[in-house]
């Protein structure tokens, strides 16, 4: 379970994942914000072998793709969360 450890005294903001409001901190990536909020995963494997929550955290493995309203499919590990952002998992 992703755990906030250091440097977490930052302003909060809110965004939307799969229709529900999620709280994040300014400077969080989508990957950090969604896992720290307890959402557990970023996507489901198209091949039916379970859910995925990223792997490399550096934009290489492409296993943390989410759909962001108005911006398209993005890597959650390299995308900073913005207030009001609307994210869909698939």
């Amino acid at each position: 379970m992703l755990t906030r450890l250091l440097d977490q005294d930052r302003p909060s903001l809110s965004f939307v994942v799969d229709g529900g409001a999620v709280s994040a901190k300014q400077g969080d990536t989508l990957l950090t914000a969604m896992l720290a909020a307890g959402l557990g995963h970023m996507r489901s494997s198209e091949f039916g072998d379970g859910e995925r929550a990223g792997f490399c955290w550096m934009g290489a493995c492409q296993d943390c793709w989410v759909f962001v309203e108005g911006r398209g499919t993005l890597r959650a590990c390299t995308t900073l969360v913005q207030p009001g952002m609307t994210v869909r998992r698939r």
Partner: protein, 452 residues
């Protein structure tokens, strides 16, 4: 002369520094929103920890690199958040995409590629579960986001990064439940004479292990990871010790990594030939000691050209820029050139010892169960690849066509090395004879803006 530098990690920064000194204003392209690379990655705006808190023993180097980066940005055509997704070597053109949408082409007369590296992986059952990351990923989480991949993580793999990452977690308050090194202590000890070429780094490794044990973190060597267990997320690691006894260690996350592999796809597209490096157990693009490749105008530096680490990357970046200047008849600092050549030779001896001290556990990859998921992108098992081998997949690109291994979203970045081991074993051929996955444009998926 139009000079382009790709990458703003330690190698890219030092390359640009030498170019700027000689009056060149290069186009400087970085895929991430900020420079620094992965080792010296900075948190986004709003984080307040200082360099000492984030980079520990590397704080001085990090501070110096970041200062150089900031000083150089206004003196170059700085293009962050920009992916080079293709190179057309005959036309000397780069295809780029900025902020995930704006496309451009960039002309070059000379090109320095500083594209970095990523973790080398050994797939084991359960490695795709949420909660499992690369070692580099676990470090980036802590450095750049202040989060831990878990509160009680397990670290598995080998190499200097293993104990370093584990100790960083322990100090941050997420005490590792276990550090599992697949290398035997004897293997490391045998290489220790060579490791003395870089005494501070060698001593640091020993100190980190001692510090972990002092904090009560079990550090086991010569051990084998069997499987990551859990329903929907990682909750335990099953492993075997050197005496063949099985253990189950409960945890809430797992970080894995067995050294690094070059991110050399752009060198491939630029037409640089590759060779198999026995020592590093990696395919690497060909270059001379200064970073010149057999392709005129194309230079390489840093981990993307063969693993050397951040310190070597800084030296190699400067050296490649000096080679470029020299080759184009421009003034370059000859004293610095001689100094860099000496340093790079010493560091190469240290790197050789390091590779011997922390080998990739090729035998574990070769003996991988048929049912183990080898390619996480397309859910292809080791058994699928072995079937492809029997069906005529006599080298990796042929096996790719038959099994789709390496054809997924990461394009073989993650599964490439273990897949080559599985294929080599299945075919009874030496590893270098099964070849390597060829780079294909786009080097990373370029999602269409607004596409669903």
């Amino acid at each position: 002369m139009r000079v382009v530098v790709v990458g703003a990690g330690p190698a890219g920064v030092r390359a640009v520094e030498q170019l700027v000194r000689s009056g060149i204003e290069p186009v400087w392209i970085e895929e991430a929103p900020d420079g620094g690379g992965r080792i010296y990655q900075r948190p986004p705006a709003g984080f307040r920890r200082n360099h000492r808190a984030i980079y520990g023993a590397d704080a001085k180097r990090a501070r110096a690199l970041h200062a150089a980066l900031e000083a150089l940005k206004p003196r170059a055509d700085w293009r962050p958040d920009t992916l080079v997704w293709n190179i057309r070597p005959r036309e000397r053109l780069l295809d780029t995409q900025t902020a995930g949408r704006r496309r451009a082409t960039v002309e070059y007369d000379a090109l320095i590629l500083c594209t970095g590296a990523m973790d080398r992986i050994l797939p084991i059952p359960g490695w795709t579960l949420p909660g499992v990351t690369t070692l580099g990923g676990a470090q980036i989480a802590l450095k750049a986001q202040g989060v831990g991949i878990g509160a009680r993580p397990v670290f598995i793999g080998t190499g200097p990064l293993l104990v370093l990452a584990a100790l960083q977690y322990a100090k941050a308050g997420a005490t590792p439940a276990l550090v599992l090194d697949t290398t035997a202590f004897a293997t490391k000890a045998m290489a220790s004479a060579g490791l003395l070429w870089n005494l501070p780094t060698f001593v640091r490794g020993l100190r980190y292990t001692a510090a972990l044990r002092l904090r009560g973190v079990p550090v086991v060597e010569d051990a084998t990871p069997i499987a990551i267990e859990g329903e929907g997320r990682a909750t335990a690691l099953r492993w075997r010790d050197a005496g063949w006894r099985e253990h189950v260690t409960p945890c809430d996350a797992v970080a894995m990594g067995w050294g690094l592999k070059p991110e050399a796809q752009l060198a491939d597209l630029a037409g640089v030939p590759f060779r198999f490096d026995e020592l590093g157990h990696n395919w690497i693009p060909e270059k001379d000691g200064a970073g010149r490749t057999p392709v005129p105008g194309v230079y390489l530096a840093g981990d993307g050209a063969g693993i050397g680490g951040a310190e070597v990357a800084e030296l190699a970046g400067a050296r490649a820029a000096l080679a470029l200047l020299e080759d184009h008849g421009l003034p370059s600092d000859m004293v610095l050139r001689a100094h860099l050549d000496g340093r790079l030779r010493t560091e190469a001896r240290f790197r050789a010892a390091l590779e011997r001290a922390f080998p990739y556990p090729a035998d574990l990859a070769r003996r991988m169960d048929d049912a183990t998921l080898l390619c996480r992108c397309e859910a292809i098992t080791a058994g699928d690849l072995r079937s492809a081998a029997r069906a005529g997949g006599s080298e990796v690109n042929r096996a790719k066509a038959l099994s789709r291994i390496g054809m997924g979203r990461c394009q073989g970045r993650v599964c490439g090395p273990p897949a080559a081991e599985v294929l080599s074993e299945a075919l009874g051929l030496p590893l270098e004879q099964v070849g390597r996955l060829r780079g294909q444009p786009p080097v990373k998926p370029i999602p269409l803006p607004g596409s669903a």
